[in-house]
């Protein structure tokens, strides 16, 4: 790829930025034009990402569509992007949800220009973080996402928005700054040992640092990602941010931003420091399972639907973490699949909560009841999404959770059994919520005037629901493209077994499962 020509991925990153620049030029009064512009560019990005899917060779596990341009030559920093089976669908999820999030922002009336500007910048930030293969570049995108989200929560959020926005930024920064130190340290060590100064992820993965150094570096990376996921006990920023964020903000936060944490583990923390990751696996698995159960129990007690969904995220992402850290094909594949599922089902849940909030200006479960009579379409869709979220067979959630539990059972049956109770708990809190909101008598007079979903709202939800069903009955196109990359990653992890202390407790079981 010539240095001046934009490659496929660069163009994808550029589309939202171009849209944002155009937005700035449109006069403030024309709010319709702003919407059209933002919608056009996010849709264009989605179409372009379909083109990328089309060009992607699903049989290969290596990085594809790689673009490499020197950025700061003397310091070994490059503009290096690429995509593989692990990041492919996360990129697609992002571009898929962005137009939906823009459409769902119809109720935002205030300062719409800035709002859409930040949405578009946010999209580039997230996409960039998914495709960056240079650690410096990754860090830049990682932080770039923070600012638009900060504004989205802080300006357009609920009553405690400023507190929630600051908490979100500080938590994330606390982790990521230490990761920055670790990134620099890693590049420095690479330069000392091989005389090559680079931030290229693939080259750095081949560096075999002694175990004690790996542990510290892994901890720095893991802290940053664990806060983002969020892994118990680093989750306390999440409910605040979710509850205060505007609907589209919650959707993006839950569906995509959180995935960056788990993605960070798969892409960076594990391949860079395999020995440390294997050694830390028991601790992380334990935290993941605690998170699953804790998140579910707390979700059960929530009176606010949005908060309930927020805590359910903690629980669901615990499953993802469990899958990733059992280090076998089913587990990791299931984890990645579950990232997509959670993105879709939780995204849809937040959309639905937003729609009912726009009507009633409350999210308290006790204010509702008996909505089925008044809002049949809404109720039906909510039921479907609820089933997806609790992992009913035939819908997407089941495939992911099943794979994860299958993979995990081979390694750590005890924790897996505990995690499985989380599935039961999730059925309890989701269905209990559903029953209190949808069934029962239509007692509250205010609810009797509610209108069902209009065409725009159905249009917003239809693609998400379609995908939820499709991914439930026909997961093969997804899993088959993910598999080669996961295979490759696991092979790398177990190939680098130079470090003797690495695999005492967990790896014994895994090497068997690694046979493909």
């Amino acid at each position: 790829m010539a240095a001046f020509a934009l490659g496929n991925l660069s163009l994808l990153l550029a589309i939202p930025v171009i849209g944002a620049m155009l937005l700035v030029l449109i006069p403030r009064q024309k709010s319709k034009a702003h919407f059209t512009c933002a919608l056009f560019f996010t849709s264009l990005a989605f179409l372009w990402s379909l083109n990328i899917l089309n060009q992607f060779d699903g049989a290969k596990g290596e990085m594809q569509l790689v673009e490499r341009v020197p950025w700061m030559r003397f310091y070994g920093i490059e503009y290096l992007v690429g995509i593989d089976g692990i990041s492919l669908f996360l990129v697609l999820l992002t571009t898929f949800l962005m137009p939906i999030a823009i459409l769902a922002s119809w109720s935002v009336k205030d300062k719409i220009k800035e709002y859409l500007f930040f949405m578009l910048i946010l999209e580039t930030g997230m996409l960039g973080a998914f495709v960056a293969l240079d650690l410096f570049l990754f860090y830049v995108f990682w932080e770039v996402m923070l600012i638009p989200m900060y504004f989205l929560i802080g300006v357009w959020g609920g009553p405690r928005r400023i507190y929630a926005a600051l908490k979100f930024v500080l938590y994330t920064m606390a982790g990521s700054l230490l990761m920055l130190v670790a990134i620099i340290y890693l590049a420095t060590r690479h330069a000392q040992l091989t005389q090559v100064l680079t931030f290229d992820l693939l080259q750095l993965c081949d560096l075999h640092l002694p175990f004690h150094e790996q542990v510290w570096l892994f901890l720095a990376f893991a802290l940053s990602f664990a806060i983002k996921v969020p892994v118990f006990p680093f989750h306390t920023w999440l409910p605040d941010a979710h509850v205060e964020a505007p609907t589209a903000g919650s959707v993006i936060l839950a569906a995509i931003l959180l995935k960056l944490g788990t993605y960070g583990f798969v892409r960076f923390a594990i391949p860079l420091f395999p020995a440390a990751a294997l050694a830390a696996a028991p601790v992380i698995i334990a935290l993941a399972v605690v998170g699953i159960i804790y998140g579910a129990l707390v979700a059960m007690m929530q009176a606010d639907i949005k908060k309930l969904v927020a805590y359910s995220s903690v629980s669901h992402l615990g499953f993802v973490m469990l899958g990733l850290f059992v280090f076998n094909l089913q587990g990791v594949q299931g984890g990645i699949y579950q990232m997509l599922n959670h993105g879709l089902s939780t995204g849809a849940l937040f959309l639905l909560v937003g729609m009912i909030y726009d009507r009633r200006h409350t999210r308290m479960i006790e204010d509702f009841g008996g909505l089925w009579k008044q809002l049949p379409v809404f109720s039906a869709l909510l039921l479907l999404v609820t089933f997806s979220s609790i992992g009913l067979p035939g819908l997407n959630g089941f495939v992911g959770e099943f794979l994860i539990l299958l993979g995990a059972f081979a390694v750590t049956p005890g924790w897996t059994a505990a995690a499985a109770t989380g599935m039961i708990l999730s059925a309890i809190y989701m269905l209990w919520m559903f029953r209190r909101v949808i069934f029962g008598p239509l007692a509250n007079p205010e609810n009797q005037k509610l209108k069902d979903l209009d065409r725009r709202e159905i249009l917003i939800l239809a693609p998400v629901v379609a995908l939820i069903i499709f991914m439930g009955v026909y997961p093969q196109p997804f899993l088959s493209r993910v598999k080669p990359s996961v295979d490759l990653m696991l092979k790398r992890v177990f190939a680098i077994q130079g470090m003797p202390t690495a695999v005492n407790n967990t790896a014994g079981g895994e090497t068997k499962n690694d046979g493909r």
Partner: protein, 479 residues
């Protein structure tokens, strides 16, 4: 010995401009005085062109007491840029606060002359000359807003504290002269071959006094107490100028004299410097947290930034030096910009510099607020802005040189700083009220200054390669 006047060219150019401005001031009518700013800017631009033409020369004047090398030229350009942006941003400010325009611009230029000499000085006496030229001009600038008692108080404090620091420096120079028989840095460093433990006590004492003097000038803890009051009291554009150019000049001299020429000292006495760096960062950031006034917050944050720069000094020559130079450039843009925005808010009936005055600015003055947000985010170290690249290179140099602990303390400090920098953004975009629309200065020149600062902040964040290369070349032109 031929008298080579070329190394004097940049300083002379600015000096002549200053004299022209001062003289013309006597003959111009009150309403014509706006011309003076443009004459001053023209002189600065000319000097900027000269420094570019001279780039790459390696020369000395008066028996190598004044050097012309890329290091001096690099700093000269920082001073010129800071002075130029300050003049642009103050055109309306000085008119409205009834500060004497001619004297104001002339003093900015005189201070710049002093700084240029400081960066080029290879002799302790010449350095001292430059320092005093700069300091006296800045003392007066601080107190120029005669209608404001804060300004006079600040000038008095600054003068007393500055005189104190000068005393330290002079004693230091005297002791070093006593020990080595020279004030020329080449000769001094030639006499310093033995390890520091063998030095006579008064030589070590002299160098220590020099260190204290420098620490005073850059505002390093525990010699920082003058900074908040002085920065808060001074006319706002002057505060920007002080916090950028004066600090840069002091660091230039520190690097050339202490770090480079007396480097044995640097490596042996690394402990105190290490402590000073940590204390400066931490104290600056902690105190900045609790300030109700944005101007005072920026004053404390400038202490914190001096702390980050001290990390580069601890790291030492090969890695720390270039990153220090680069950081000063990035710091110049974002800080001058931030103070320019602050200056646009100041009201005649009182200072408008609290967080609450910024409330709602984001939708009343979108450009100024967006620019201020960029400066704040850049100062806090968010990519892809200049402040991030600057910090990145400092921390990178620290880790590369094995000072990972300093880098960790540094990043934790920038986390602290995020809190108070974002408070400005919160006020601008997420709160209501604040200053009424009419109490803004509608100065197109200030907008130009802000726009230039924004450009620098973004450019150095995204495409820093060239500026980095320049800072490397400049640093290694020290012989």
């Amino acid at each position: 010995m031929d008298v080579n006047l070329l190394p004097l060219l940049p300083a002379t150019q600015v000096l002549l401009t200053a004299l022209v401005v001062m003289l013309l001031d006597l003959f111009l009518k009150e309403n014509e005085k706006g011309l003076l700013a443009w004459i001053g800017l023209l002189g600065l631009v000319l000097c900027g062109v000269e420094t570019m033409l001279l780039w790459g020369s390696q020369d000395g004047a008066f028996g190598d007491t004044l050097l012309l090398d890329n290091f001096a030229l690099f700093f000269t350009q920082i001073f010129l840029g800071a002075a130029g942006l300050t003049i642009l941003a103050s055109i309306h400010y000085v008119r409205e606060t009834r500060i004497n325009e001619g004297e104001f611009y002339a003093l900015i230029l005189f201070a710049t002359v002093g700084m240029i000499v400081m960066a080029a000085a290879n002799d302790l006496i010449v350095f001292f000359l430059g320092l005093e030229t700069m300091s006296v001009a800045v003392y007066i600038l601080t107190g120029m807003w005669r209608a404001s008692s804060r300004s006079s108080e600040a000038a008095m404090k600054y003068f007393l504290m500055g005189a104190f620091a000068t005393g330290f420096l002079l004693y230091g120079i005297a002791l070093i002269y006593g020990a080595t028989g020279s004030t020329n840095l080449n000769e001094i460093s030639a006499n310093l071959v033995e390890p520091m433990t063998e030095w006579p006590l008064y030589l070590a004492g002299g160098v220590l006094l020099l260190l204290i003097g420098f620490a005073f000038k850059v505002g390093a803890v525990p010699f920082h107490f003058w900074i908040p009051d002085v920065y808060e009291g001074a006319p706002t554009p002057v505060t920007g100028f002080m916090s950028v150019a004066v600090k840069a000049a002091a660091f230039a001299a520190w690097v050339r004299i202490l770090m480079h020429k007396l480097s044995p000292f640097d490596s042996d006495w690394y402990g105190p410097l290490w402590l000073m760096a940590i204390a400066t960062m931490t104290v600056g950031n902690l105190l900045a947290l609790s300030q109700p006034s944005v101007k005072r917050m920026l004053a404390y944050s400038s202490i914190a930034h001096a702390g980050y720069l001290l990390i580069a000094l601890v790291v030492g020559e090969e890695w720390g030096g270039p990153s220090l130079l680069f950081y000063l450039v990035t710091y110049a843009f974002m800080t001058v910009g931030a103070f320019a925005v602050l200056a646009s808010l100041t009201d005649q009936d009182g200072p408008r510099e609290n967080y609450s005055d910024f409330a709602g600015l984001g939708f009343k003055r979108p450009f100024l607020a967006a620019a201020m947000s960029l400066f704040m985010l850049s100062l806090a170290g968010f990519p892809p802005l200049a402040g991030f690249t600057g910090k990145f290179y400092i921390f990178r140099s620290a880790i590369f040189a094995g000072h990972t602990n300093l880098a960790i303390i540094g990043v934790l400090n920038s986390l602290l700083s995020v809190i108070y920098y974002l408070r400005v953004v919160v006020a601008m975009y997420m709160e209501e009220g604040g200053v009424e629309g009419k109490s803004f200065r509608q100065s197109p020149y200030l907008y130009i200054a802000v726009a230039l600062a924004v450009f620098g902040t973004v450019y150095l964040g995204i495409i820093p390669a060239r500026a980095l290369e320049w800072s490397r070349v400049s640093f290694f032109s020290l012989d």
